[in-house]
């Protein structure tokens, strides 16, 4: 690998202060992303996917305690939200300002990151609206979000995220609030935009199918750690970690309609307030051995293709 | 028969030089506008039609009565009338009038004006005059300065004289004759003979009066004018005084609670004189239709339950006196304290109630009553609260029912929908004017401040009737002493204490409280230090 990575995350730990102790969202997350690469973070809710995304974007609440390192080697400086990193939120119904017309919302990052006038920024915003498939863009530019459908709103949200030409696009479950038909369209749009603009993409999803649809590489997160990583085809085709297998099995069993929002795996994830000893998945793992509960599994394989499980320890 | 004569000049000098209490040998200074607080704006400001303190407070400076009250022997001093004399048969009173008086519009004042006012305004329409002058048949005017009031029944001249200050304001005949007097514009744009002329009324803001340069009492008045600032809030009146924006607040417009603070401010004085002629009483009114209350022992028990000293101290902060009967002490002509009294004595009260056959029930309550404190004064409301507690102590459970003025007037004086009420009747210089009406039976419902209590005592009625016709002052006084004794024996209502108002004024205002009706008199001798 000779390219300079766009993003390098090492031993990222994020926790929030709670009434009696701390809530762990990330318990040591490592991740390297190349420019133009498309990665999906999958896992159950509470696995730390969204926290990882927010941490990368620098959007964590001020109360969050963050340890570890976040570097942007290809950038050579700290990233500026909006300018270097675009962010697409999960719910297009709440992530747009309800009282501002959409063109202005798209124009904002352009205006403030590209040093152009509002006029120019708005003109570019209208072009972007057209690009993301809102027609007639000129006429609808002045409309406010509630005049758009959910799918259209997510297109607008994508337009906002890419407006200032970021090198990295983060998308937090961008399709889970939408119906199936729209989901596919949005994924197509993301796919084409990322290719067209050479952006790297980190997409959070609980749905392996979505990951398969768009990602070069998949990271599986469980209880604040990455338990498996690898090229999409390999992870989906030959999952190693028992959790990945369970996740895929649950997702496949639900692949037929009616789709359920979350795949179900027997048992519950560990208490985020508890300190973890041993493999975090051990209590739910069908293959767990006694030592799984005492020793934390190390990473087996390369950073980009490997697994953290005693079953695969050398 | 009394005959009072006083020379014009002597009169004005006397009133200027003999102010009660504050006698400083300084010559009055002419000039300056006195700014005073007013809290109401009467719909009809004509004192010939409406005899009320609210009207008099402004109108008495513009429109004068035939005579005014005075401190000292006689109790009256001439205004538009120089002298008066009753006929031996009591059927007429002859007034000698000033001949040098002009109304503010320049027309001369004469006996025709008095005759017109007496027959067309006082007798026909005036709230107090309608009853008082019901026997007035005619007014003869043999010459411009003589008016002879003729009555169909004997009328004591003493009574007529005592009514002069409040009931006999004179407005010009030529402006009222031939008009609907009640809607006449001059009920607002006053034209009179007084020391001040009416300039303007800006509703909600102020009344403005200016000096009448042609006043018959020249060189009076001293002031260049008077401004009444309408200040509906009593707290605001205190502040305006303190800020120096007004010079004087009459009629206890400053809350008693603020008095102490204000009195400590340099240049501000509290004056408790000048209202003796309009002394109010705090009374417990009793509905005799209620079986328990028709028993005199129960009424006496209630009287014994009231600690008058406490009421004076706690409710009036000392600015009142316990009452002994329906006539206040100030009226030395009629007052007597040789009447039954009911000292504060709860044991006695309870014994009386037991005797009357109303023992305490299992819950400690003898019987329950509705108590309606009149909303007129802060003190009537507070007395309601005090009485509830006082009654509770002797086993009578009172429920306080608070109403606004119209509601109270209707409930007590029209519908008789009360058991006990707290009232505040005013004593107007003679028991026959507004006091005996509280004891007399046979009055139609709806008459405010009258016996709507269902009390009827033939002996009481006989005394009241006899006194109203008694021509001999000594006989009248004796009858009214009898009246007071009877009133306190039978106790149809319970006089608790008598109170007058307070004036708070800047000390630069001089000749304040120079007569017993000062606030509602003409203020011709009032002056301002520079």
């Amino acid at each position: 690998m000779s390219t300079i990575p766009l993003l390098s995350v090492r031993a990222l730990r994020v926790c929030f202060a709670a009434d009696k102790g701390r809530i762990w969202a990330l318990r040591g997350f490592d991740f390297v992303l190349d420019p133009g690469e498309r990665v999906a973070l999958v896992g159950e809710s509470g696995a730390g996917k969204s926290t990882a995304l927010l941490a990368i974007a620098g959007l964590l609440d001020r109360q969050a305690q963050v340890e570890g390192t976040l570097d942007f080697p290809a950038l050579g400086r700290r990233p500026i939200p909006g300018k270097d990193i675009g962010f697409v939120f999960q719910d297009p119904f709440s992530s747009l300002d309800p009282v501002m017309d959409v063109a202005t919302q798209i124009a904002e990052p352009i205006r403030f990151h590209k040093d152009v006038s509002w006029r120019v920024a708005r003109a570019q915003a209208v072009a972007l609206l057209r690009r993301v498939g809102i027609e007639p863009a000129g006429a609808r530019a002045r409309d406010v979000p509630h005049r758009f459908s959910g799918g259209e709103r997510q297109r607008i949200a994508i337009a906002i995220a890419i407006a200032a030409g970021p090198k990295l696009l983060l998308a937090d479950e961008p399709t889970s609030a939408l119906d199936t038909a729209t989901q596919a369209q949005i994924l197509d749009l993301l796919d084409s935009l990322v290719r067209e603009r050479g952006m790297a993409l980190v997409l959070v999803t609980h749905d392996p199918a979505v990951a398969a649809r768009i990602a070069d590489r998949i990271l599986v997160l469980y209880a604040g750690r990455c338990v498996e990583a690898g090229p999409s085809a390999r992870v989906l085709g030959a999952p190693r970690h028992p959790y990945t297998r369970a996740l895929l099995a649950a997702a496949l069993s639900l692949a037929r309609p009616p789709p359920r929002p979350l795949p179900e795996i027997p048992g519950t994830p560990p208490d985020p307030e508890a300190a973890l000893v041993g493999c975090s998945f051990a209590p739910r793992c069908a293959f767990a051995q006694p030592h799984c509960r005492t020793f934390s599994p190390g990473w087996t394989g390369t950073p980009r293709d490997g697994v953290a499980c005693h079953l695969f320890s050398p | 028969m009394t005959l009072r004569r006083r020379e014009l000049l002597a009169c004005s000098l006397l009133s200027a030089l003999a102010p009660a209490g504050i006698a400083r040998a300084e010559p009055p200074r002419r000039g300056g506008v006195l700014v005073v607080a007013a809290d109401t704006e009467p719909r009809n400001l004509n004192p010939a039609l409406v005899a009320s303190n609210g009207v008099f407070f402004v109108a008495s400076k513009v429109i004068e009565p035939l005579a005014e009250m005075a401190y000292g022997q006689g109790g009256l001093e001439p205004r538009l009338a120089l002298a008066w004399e009753g006929s031996p048969d009591g059927l007429s009173v002859t007034f000698r009038l000033r001949s040098d008086v002009r109304f503010h519009d320049g027309t001369p004042f004469s006996s025709a004006d008095v005759a017109f006012c007496a027959l067309e305004l006082w007798k026909k329409h005036q709230n107090l005059g309608r009853a008082f002058f019901k026997d007035l048949e005619a007014v003869d005017t043999p010459d411009p300065s003589t008016a002879i009031l003729r009555f169909s029944a004997p009328t004591p001249v003493q009574l007529v004289a005592n009514a002069l200050p409040a009931l006999t304001a004179v407005v010009p005949r030529h402006l009222f004759a031939g008009t609907d007097v009640l809607t006449n514009p001059h009920n607002q744009k006053l034209i009179g003979t007084g020391p001040f002329r009416f300039v303007e009324h800006r509703p909600g803001q102020f009344y403005r009066l200016e000096r009448n340069p042609d006043y018959w009492g020249a060189p009076l008045p001293w002031l260049d004018g008077i401004v009444y600032r309408v200040l509906p809030d009593r707290g605001a009146i205190a502040a305006a005084l303190e800020a120096g924006e007004i010079d004087l607040a009459a009629f206890s417009a400053v809350p008693l609670a603020d008095l102490k603070r204000l009195a400590a401010v340099p240049g501000i004085a509290v004056i408790d004189k000048g209202y003796e002629g309009i002394t109010y009483q705090l009374t417990v009114e009793i509905n005799h239709r209620r079986k328990e209350l028709s028993d005199v022992r129960v009424r006496r028990a209630i009287a014994h339950a009231i600690d008058r000293e406490f009421v004076v101290r706690a409710i009036f902060l000392g600015w009142a006196k316990p009452a002994t009967g329906p006539v206040p002490r100030f009226d030395t002509t009629f007052f007597t304290d040789e009447v039954p009294s009911y000292p504060f004595d709860r044991k006695r009260a309870e014994a009386l109630l037991d005797e009357a056959g109303y023992p305490r029930q299992a819950d400690g309550v003898r019987f329950r009553v509705d108590l309606l404190p009149a909303p007129w004064f802060e003190q009537t409301r507070q007395m309601g609260e005090y009485l509830r507690e006082a009654l509770k102590a002797i086993g009578i459970e009172a429920r306080l029912v608070i109403k606004d003025p119209a509601g109270h007037q209707k409930a007590v004086y029209t519908d008789h929908a009360f058991d006990l009420a707290i009232g505040s009747p005013v004593y107007r210089n003679d028991p026959a004017i507004s006091t005996t009406i509280l004891y007399e039976s046979g009055l139609p419902p709806g008459v405010p401040f009258s016996n709507q209590y269902g009390y009827a005592n033939p002996e009481m009625d006989a005394v009241i009737r006899a006194a109203a016709r008694a021509l001999d002052p000594a006989e009248r006084a004796a009858l009214y002493r009898r009246f007071q004794k009877l009133a306190m024996e039978d106790l149809p209502l319970i006089p608790v204490c008598e109170f007058t108002f307070l004036t708070v004024a800047r000390t630069r205002v001089r000749n304040v409280a120079t007569n017993p009706r000062w606030a509602v008199s003409n203020w011709a001798d009032c002056w301002l230090e520079s």
């Binding site: 992530s95 009282v99 403030f112 | 009320s52 303190e242 119209a406 029209t414 419902p445 008459v447």
Partner: protein, 328 residues
């Protein structure tokens, strides 16, 4: 037709119904209250039975309530608002006399309330939880806990009694007869304290509403999304946070603007401002139906106009609210 115009037309179409309800309501209210205008009047002076009877006949109170109501309506149909029994003057003249000063007081107070409340609320809401928020919120809390008459008295004692910078009451210097600009200045000096008193109490309310709206906006997804765009904090604060918090603020201003016109009895009394609030109060105390209906009619009209203004403002502030919805 533009949605705004349609709304205006629809609202005005409802106005007669509202006004009819208001008129009937006032009449019923005063009819149901014990005692009539004569009772209220004689309560201050006394008089014999004939005096009362004569007054009732003269004031038309000897007629049945129905007859009086119909007579009033008949008069109203010809634009006659009747005669006030309390003031013995045409109601119309009284209203015209008092409306300007009421509007001046209400709108000045509203401006003060919006300015002070806006600044306090904005300071507090711009950084919830900060020292600045705690200071501003403490001010708001103190103001909010202050009854208006008490605030008024304190202001009077300070500015009129101690410092003597401003008059304690009234609306003009009596007898000064100022003209033109001098008169305006005189009026302004007299209005400072009442406007402050009335305005500051509402300022506390507005500040709370604005702060609450801003706190909610800070927590919202769209502000987080706006933050992800990397726009300057100033832009975020004004264009997104504050802008969204204006919607609840305008609602509250609309609701209370009307009560500022009619409900400033305390302030009008304390500062001797001859306004509509006191007039309505006196109409009730003195059982003066024509006057009460007159005042309430004017207030109802003002409320209708104000609500219309607020709704039109809504359309601009919050495009989610469709102006031309259900044109039923």
């Amino acid at each position: 037709m533009s949605p705004g115009l349609a709304l205006v037309r629809r609202r005005l179409a409802h106005a007669p119904l509202v006004l009819a309800l208001v008129i009937t309501g006032c009449f019923v209210l005063l009819e149901a209250a014990p005692g009539d205008a004569v009772d209220a009047y004689v309560a201050s002076l006394g008089g014999d039975a004939g005096f009362l009877h004569e007054l009732r006949a003269r004031w038309g109170l000897d007629k049945t309530p129905w007859t009086r109501f119909l007579l009033y309506l008949a008069g109203l149909a010809t634009g006659d608002l009747g005669i006030s029994l309390t003031f013995n003057r045409p109601v119309r003249a009284l209203l015209l006399e008092r409306l300007p000063i009421t509007l001046l007081l209400a709108f000045s107070a509203m401006a003060v309330a919006l300015l002070v409340g806006g600044i306090l609320g904005f300071l507090a809401g711009s950084r919830p939880g900060s020292l600045r928020d705690r200071l501003a919120s403490a001010c708001v809390l103190a103001l909010n806990a202050t009854p208006s008459f008490w605030l008024g008295i304190v202001l009077v004692l300070l500015f009129a009694v101690r410092l003597r910078w401003l008059p304690s009451a009234g609306i003009e210097t009596i007898g000064a007869d100022y003209r033109g600009l001098a008169r305006l200045c005189d009026l302004a000096r007299h209005m400072v304290l009442p406007v402050l008193t009335l305005g500051l109490v509402y300022a506390a309310l507005y500040a709370r509403v604005l702060r609450a709206g801003m706190v909610e906006a800070w927590r919202s997804d769209f502000v987080r999304a706006a933050r992800a765009k990397g726009i300057p904090r100033r832009r975020l604060l004004f264009a997104h946070v504050a802008r969204n918090a204006l919607v609840p603020l305008v609602t509250v201003v609309g609701v209370h603007g009307a009560s500022m016109v009619g409900g400033s009895v305390v302030v009008e009394s304390l500062f001797a401002v001859p306004g509509l609030g006191r007039l309505a109060f006196e109409a009730v105390i003195y059982r003066d139906p024509a006057l009460l209906v007159g005042v309430v009619l004017v207030c109802a009209l003002l409320v209708i106009i104000l609500n219309l203004a607020v709704d039109l403002l809504y359309g601009w502030l919050d495009p989610r609210i469709e102006l031309a919805d259900s044109p039923s």
